[in-house]
């Protein structure tokens, strides 16, 4: 399906584009069709996302990047009329659309950071402990620990350690986005989905978040949607190019940007359309 793939297909997903050599695929998408009512948003998408890597989804506006991303934690379930009509998404080999899947548990393992920063109108501390408290964690020491660990991991600790009980909304835009990342990290997910996390940030804040993403892949698998080609080139290991709901090309980021095999991909990454 994907002409650029040179590695052998992974055993569980013969049809899917394979993951990076040596790295097991954590998310496997197979032949996925997705509809909003009558409107097809994804058309036979297959790809395998390796663990502990940053995978970027790129493509012109409306091509289905967010839709694909939101399939991974089934956030699309919230939209009336949105429906997967064909294909599967497997995470660690489990079909996440299967009947026995508990969506709440799935979302605890697949965290998400949104384009629009959305801290709760509570304190920084409460923002981070929210997810743990949902899981029934009450111990103050455990919560305190989690707050420090997550904020350190999100490179925010030094900036906010003296004001943990101030409102999360009192932070700057970039800080708020890192707070949202810290909030996602706090529940210890395996995968973090990011939908244009830097689109509302200035270049300095963007650089910090990118640095953070780079660091986070030690611990997490990251899938990021971005419109910013430099960003995709700078901080991702693998890149998938989507166009009109189809996966056009999926390969190492370097390959996509330096030596794409598809002419549409080339046109897009060189800024000639989109």
């Amino acid at each position: 399906m994907d002409p650029t793939t040179t590695e052998s297909p992974s055993p569980t997903t013969p049809a899917a584009a394979s993951a990076d050599a040596g790295r097991p695929a954590i998310i496997e998408v197979e032949d996925l069709d997705f509809y909003y009512g009558e409107n097809r948003a994804l058309d036979g998408v297959s790809l395998a996302i390796p663990s502990h890597q940053v995978t970027a989804l790129i493509g012109p506006s409306g091509c289905g990047k967010s839709t694909l991303l939101r399939c991974f934690n089934r956030m699309n379930d919230l939209i009336e009329g949105a429906e997967r009509t064909r294909g599967t998404v497997r995470i660690r080999g489990v079909d996440i659309f299967g009947p026995e899947v508990n969506v709440m548990e799935l979302r605890k393992r697949v965290g998400m950071v949104f384009q629009k920063t959305n801290p709760f109108p509570n304190s920084i501390y409460e923002n981070i402990t929210f997810g743990l408290q949902l899981q029934g964690v009450r111990s103050k020491t455990r919560l305190d620990e989690a707050v420090e660990r997550s904020l350190r991991a999100a490179a925010l600790w030094d900036e906010v350690k003296d004001r943990l009980h101030e409102s999360g909304l009192s932070l700057s835009g970039g800080q708020q986005q890192r707070l949202c990342i810290a909030r996602a990290i706090a529940v210890e997910p395996e995968i973090i989905l990011m939908d244009e996390p830097c689109s509302a940030l200035d270049p300095v804040a963007t650089a910090r978040v990118e640095e953070l993403i780079h660091k986070l892949k030690q611990e997490f698998t990251i899938v990021i949607v971005t419109h910013n080609m430099q960003q995709a080139a700078r901080c991702s290991d693998r890149t998938a190019f989507l166009y009109l709901g189809k996966l056009i090309e999926y390969a190492d980021t370097q390959t996509i940007f330096i030596n794409p095999s598809d002419s549409q991909t080339e046109a897009y990454v060189s800024g000639r359309f989109g």
Binding site: M75, E80, L106, R107, K108, P119, G131, L134, A184
Partner: protein
């Protein structure tokens, strides 16, 4: 070099070309500004109107209290109180008799005749106890008549043309009161006599037999109270002998009698009282009941419609609830009397419901009936405003919460409701304002008994009939003399109501402002 500028010039050279538009805009501004101004003006005018008609009440009430004092009604009051206390004791003895008859009927095979025969000693005792205070009651009634006559005479005197024209001197209370005050000379002897009578009768009571120990204990308590009553008799004498008819009535008294008075008594033979407390507590009690039903219902429905319902359910529920607001309140009131009142009565008479305090209900129309009907009035207000508040919570909060693995209900409880709290608080307050001001339903369904609900009876208080501030205005405004004290008292009630609802509205607005979410 540059191209000629062919667009419409913005520097207007003609005399009217630009002006016309400006004038039009100014007219629109004036129109809207005028509307806003009219609203403020009307609010002010209502306030002034209510105050002008109402505040005169205090002067009249002071005069009213002055007559009450000078004509000697106040003088007789301690005696009337004693008469009343004695009455209460007799009534409670009768209650004991009824219970004794019931206990005998339960525990023995006796028929009605035999039971009555058994209780004859008790009947005799009660009659003797009643008779023992006869001189006291007689005096109380005589003096009451005398004082009332003085009051009538004084009022007639002051209403004559001559007096108004300054041709007649002030009414001579001093002389009129002489026969009244003369009673003091005989009172001590009367007290001694009555006290001795009572003691004798009460002591005879220890020979009575009782069907069970509870009754015996209740009776022993009653006897102690009766003895205490006999001992306290001289208290009234002290009060009456130190009474000073010429002490002026202070102005604050006219206010405090209104604001904290526990009686609203009009067109009475004795003395009219305009105490707003029974009406205020009635209004608050009914509103409280209404909110107790309407808040969970309204907010629950708002949460359901906003967070859980499908489109189709929304399209059904929202108009249905909002339609309730369109039902004329007189129809709701009618429904309350005919259907709810009757249902409540029958329901409360079901055997296994009797554990509920206040059941079976004594009156079909009571605070609970009115409160439930009023809840229907409050639900649309609370629902609509709470739904707005929920709608205004940024959708991103919901997404963030769900993405962290929260269930829908966890999201509602921990994120959406707290974020919408300010709007919900103000929805409840406005619902309260709506209910306090509602008239027709309370007039028809609340039972209209003018008395402070007896809060000492716990939850039973909810099934007592009450009267309300709005109800009393609607009921009595038609029958009062314009400009009279009663008329002005009703305006004062209206003014109080107005101030109350204004305060609630103000609090609601503050709630919104203080708890408003920072915008992001």
């Amino acid at each position: 070099m540059s191209e000629p500028d062919t667009r419409r010039p913005f520097a207007v050279t003609s005399r009217y070309g630009g002006e016309r538009k400006v004038v039009g805009e100014r007219m629109i501004q004036l129109f809207f500004g005028g509307n806003a101004f009219v609203a403020v003006l009307i609010l002010g005018l209502i306030m002034i109107f209510l105050a002008r008609e109402g505040l005169g009440f205090f002067q009249l009430n002071r005069a009213n209290l002055e007559v009450y004092r000078k004509a000697g009604l106040e003088f007789v009051e301690p005696l009337r109180l004693q008469e009343n206390q004695h009455n209460q004791l007799v009534r409670r003895m009768f209650d004991l008799r009824v219970e004794s008859a019931r206990a005998l009927g339960r525990n023995t095979e006796l028929d009605r005749e035999a039971i009555n025969a058994r209780l004859r000693p008790l009947d005799d005792f009660i009659l003797a106890f009643e008779d023992a205070a006869e001189p006291l009651i007689h005096a109380s009634m005589n003096l009451s008549d005398l004082a009332a006559e003085i009051k009538m005479a004084a009022i007639e005197w002051e209403e004559t043309e001559e007096y108004r024209g300054g041709l007649k001197p002030d009414f001579d209370y001093e002389t009129a009161r002489e026969s009244l005050v003369a009673f003091l000379g005989t009172q001590e002897r009367l007290n001694e006599m009555v006290a001795a009578n009572l003691r004798r009768v009460v002591n005879q009571g220890n020979q009575l037999e009782w069907a069970n120990t509870a009754l015996a204990r209740a009776f022993a308590e009653l006897r102690n109270e009766a003895l205490a009553f006999a001992t306290d008799l001289p208290g009234a004498y002290h009060e009456m002998s130190t009474w000073d008819p010429n002490e002026p009535v202070p102005t604050w008294k006219a206010w405090s009698v209104f604001l904290t008075g526990s009686q609203w008594l009009t067109a009475s033979f004795w003395q009219d009282w305009y105490g707003v407390l029974p009406l205020l507590t009635g209004s608050l009690l009914v509103s409280f009941i209404a909110l107790a039903f309407a808040v969970p219902l309204g907010i629950g429905a708002a949460v359901y419609v906003n967070q859980i319902a499908t489109r189709r359910e929304q399209n059904l529920i929202k108009p249905a609830i909002e339609f309730i607001a369109a039902i004329p309140s007189v129809v709701l009131g009618f429904f309350g009397i005919i259907v709810l009142g009757e249902l409540l009565r029958q329901f409360s008479e079901i055997g296994w419901m009797s554990w509920w305090p206040g059941f079976p209900v004594a009156e079909r129309l009571n605070a609970l009936t009115a409160g439930i009907m009023l809840a229907l009035v409050a639900v649309p207000t609370i629902f609509t405003l709470a739904e707005d508040a929920l709608q205004n919570v940024p959708k991103t909060y919901r997404e963030a919460s769900l993405a962290l693995g929260a269930t829908r209900m966890q999201t509602v409880w921990k994120v959406i409701l707290p974020a919408a709290m300010s709007g919900i608080v103000s929805a409840v307050l406005l619902g309260f304002g709506r209910v306090v001001g509602e008239t027709m339903i309370v007039l028809l369904c609340a039972g209209n008994r003018i008395a402070i609900p007896d809060f000492t009876r716990g939850l039973e208080v909810f099934t007592q009939p009450v009267h309300t501030m709005t109800g009393i205005i609607a009921q009595q405004m038609g029958e009062v003399v314009e400009g009279g004290i009663h008329y002005r008292a009703l305006f004062m009630v209206g003014l109080l109501l107005f101030v109350l609802t204004l305060t609630i509205n103000y609090l609601a607005q503050r709630a919104v402002r203080r708890l408003r979410l920072p915008t992001i």
